[in-house]
């Protein structure tokens, strides 16, 4: 147990396991040895068992269910009994205009959320570090509030602004002599609204993550820089940001991995599931949900979900690979 706990890659054979092996019995039956080691770890394995079973049933079993995407699923026949139809479900989806629309929306929105939130949160975290502790606490608490609201509640808030008859914005428009707008029946303003809503909700959490990272930086660096006569700006760009890079990169890899997974709540509740806004609000997740619950097209929606999962996996492994090539230290795995 002399290795760093931060580095789980190295010895899976812990010291305690090896130490009990008697050297003279090296030629002993491998099976027997493995069993002994297993027996030695039985208690920890037992502690792990509930988690193992849980993930097996709720995460790994559904992976087998992916074959639904290649079948014509019927409730009465079950997964095994339903007929194979090959790639028909995929053909149907990709032949429709929806495939392009939801894929484009999912990717562009995620890119937007990623860049806007990261830049804003970094800026806020750096600024927080420059002001007094007491005001930091106040600002942080306020900025964190929306993070703990559900999208359902947030949809009530946006509704208070956007409602056609009584919404705050329409009344404001009228008061300065402009015509009120049917926000929920127009697809054009939604990219801005959704980005704003996302930033509003996520900024507190992201700022906190980066701020926690900044606090973790060794103050010696700053002391040394100050002695050398570095300005505040120089410290930010030469110390703070480089030290935060690993954290930023990990969060970005995770975000890229989730590029094909959209925020269902944001895109379902904020536009109020309103049809006319679909051209700019519909993402893969809302599409799959509608195909499943509203249209009842189970196999097709499974096919879309499969497409989403596979591309998501490729993206995260790819992003990690690229980061590893550039700088091994920063990669996620």
């Amino acid at each position: 147990m002399d290795q760093s706990p931060l580095n789980p890659e190295l010895p899976t054979l812990g010291k305690s396991n090896i130490a009990t092996e008697v050297p003279g019995k090296a030629r002993k039956n491998m099976k027997n040895k493995e069993w002994k080691l297993f027996w030695k770890n039985r208690e920890l394995s037992l502690l792990f068992l509930p988690g193992f079973i849980y993930k097996l049933v709720l995460a790994y079993l559904p992976m087998i269910g992916i074959i639904i995407a290649f079948k014509n699923y019927r409730y009465d026949l079950g997964i095994i009994g339903s007929k194979w139809i090959g790639f028909k479900n995929f053909e149907f989806f990709f032949a429709s205009q929806d495939a392009f629309r939801v894929t484009r929306n999912t990717i562009f929105y995620n890119l937007g959320y990623m860049t806007i939130t990261t830049i804003a949160a970094l800026a806020f975290a750096v600024m927080l570090n420059e002001i007094s502790q007491r005001s930091v606490k106040v600002y942080q608490t306020i900025m964190f509030l929306p993070y703990f609201l559900s999208w359902v509640i947030v949809s009530y808030i946006t509704y208070a602004f956007l409602d056609y008859n009584s919404g705050y914005i329409n009344h404001f428009l009228q008061s300065i002599g402009l015509a009120p707008k049917q926000w929920y029946l127009d697809y054009r303003p939604w990219p801005y609204i959704l980005n704003a809503a996302h930033l509003w909700k996520a900024i507190g959490f992201s700022t906190l993550v980066y701020y926690a990272g900044i606090i973790g930086i060794d103050t010696d660096y700053y002391e040394a820089a100050r002695i050398d006569g570095a300005s505040r700006m120089q410290m930010i760009f030469k110390i703070t940001l480089p030290m935060l890079t690993p954290l930023i990169v990990i969060l970005l890899i995770l975000a890229i991995g989730g590029m094909f997974r959209g925020d269902f709540g944001l895109h379902y509740f904020i536009p109020n599931n309103s049809g006319p806004t679909f051209p700019t609000t519909d993402i893969i997740d809302t599409y799959v949900y509608r195909a499943l619950r509203a249209l009842g097209d189970i196999s097709m929606s499974a096919a879309v979900g499969f497409y989403q999962s596979v591309v998501g996996l490729i993206l995260v492994v790819g992003a990690n690979y690229v980061v590893k090539k550039m700088n091994d230290e920063n990669s996620l795995f």
Binding site: P8, F148, L251
Partner: protein
């Protein structure tokens, strides 16, 4: 970084200004909803939603509390899943995270991969839906709201990050004293992990309190509505009725019968309120918990 002398104060002033504006931008939307819930209905119809009520009124809340049973039941369901879900989830997360944090555990690597792979790849919504409804038969069951949220890999990362900082000597010495792994975990590790448990417990309880996704998927029975699902249905049903004037005529419903605007916002306030009141008291734990369990753990 606290400097001893600050010759120029204007950057600090500017930064504070930026934060004050941002804070206003975050708080004002809340205030709008709260203020609407206290506004007289007629005044809303005439002037729309306002930040300061033109005519103050408690009528919205009166409407809600005339028939409180629906809301109270939703509170009950939400409280139940929050308490049961958080307790079970914390225990499960701590157990799993602890085993993974033990670098002398023989199957450490494979166990870690087993958990984290579920973050990278999943069967998707449809197989999950079929599993819950067709195979586990949890449709319209309270467990459909609790079980899916029990073990989140992200929480395990945080937990592992925290637990791996506990000195291994403690575990070693307990072993020498003859303690078994279960005893070590329950009597030593869990008490030591209190800060992590508190942080994660808060995050988990917030996510159960805000649960709507599984409710939307699996709950049709009105008695099992969570608070959030109740809100979803209130808004979507009103929207639906308002968009179908013919139907309202056929059903003999007039606009006046619908929950009025202030009552709707009052519901939102009553649902979000408790969490928002509790939250600031726990805020200080978050920074600590997040610093300790930062991602790479």
């Amino acid at each position: 970084m606290r400097t001893t002398v600050r010759p120029i104060q204007w950057p600090t002033f500017l930064i504070n200004l930026v934060f004050i504006i941002t804070s206003l931008g975050i708080v004002l939307p809340f205030l709008l909803v709260v203020s609407v819930s206290f506004t007289d209905e007629k005044s809303i119809l005439n002037h729309g939603y306002q930040f300061i009520p033109e005519v103050f009124s408690l009528a919205g809340y009166q409407v809600i509390f005339e028939a409180p049973i629906v809301l109270l039941r939703a509170y009950g369901v939400t409280t139940l899943i929050t308490v049961v879900g958080t307790t079970l989830s914390l225990l499960l997360t701590a157990m799993t995270g602890y085993v993974i944090s033990r670098s002398d555990y023989r199957y450490n690597r494979i166990a870690t991969f087993y958990i984290f792979f579920t973050m990278l790849f999943s069967g998707g919504l449809v197989p999950f839906y079929i599993l819950i409804t067709q195979y586990l038969h949890l449709k319209d069951s309270i467990w459909a709201l609790i079980i899916p949220g029990l073990l989140n890999p992200f929480n395990i990362i945080v937990m592992r990050g925290f637990l791996s900082k506990i000195p291994t000597e403690i575990i070693e010495s307990a072993k020498i004293d003859g303690a078994k792994e279960f005893r070590i975990f329950f009597t030593m590790i869990l008490p030591l992990a209190k800060p992590a448990l508190a942080t994660l417990g808060l995050f988990i309880s917030f996510s159960y309190w805000n649960e709507w996704f599984n409710a939307l998927l699996f709950i049709d029975n009105h008695n099992l509505y969570t608070l959030q699902l109740l809100l979803v249905n209130v808004l979507s049903q009103i929207e639906f009725l308002l968009s179908q004037p013919e139907m309202m005529q056929a059903l003999h419903i007039s606009v006046a019968d619908l929950p009025n605007l202030s009552a709707r916002m009052g519901m939102a306030v009553l649902v979000a309120g408790p969490m928002l009141c509790i939250f600031p008291f726990f805020q200080r734990y978050f920074v600590k918990g997040l610093t300790v369990g930062s991602l790479k753990g």
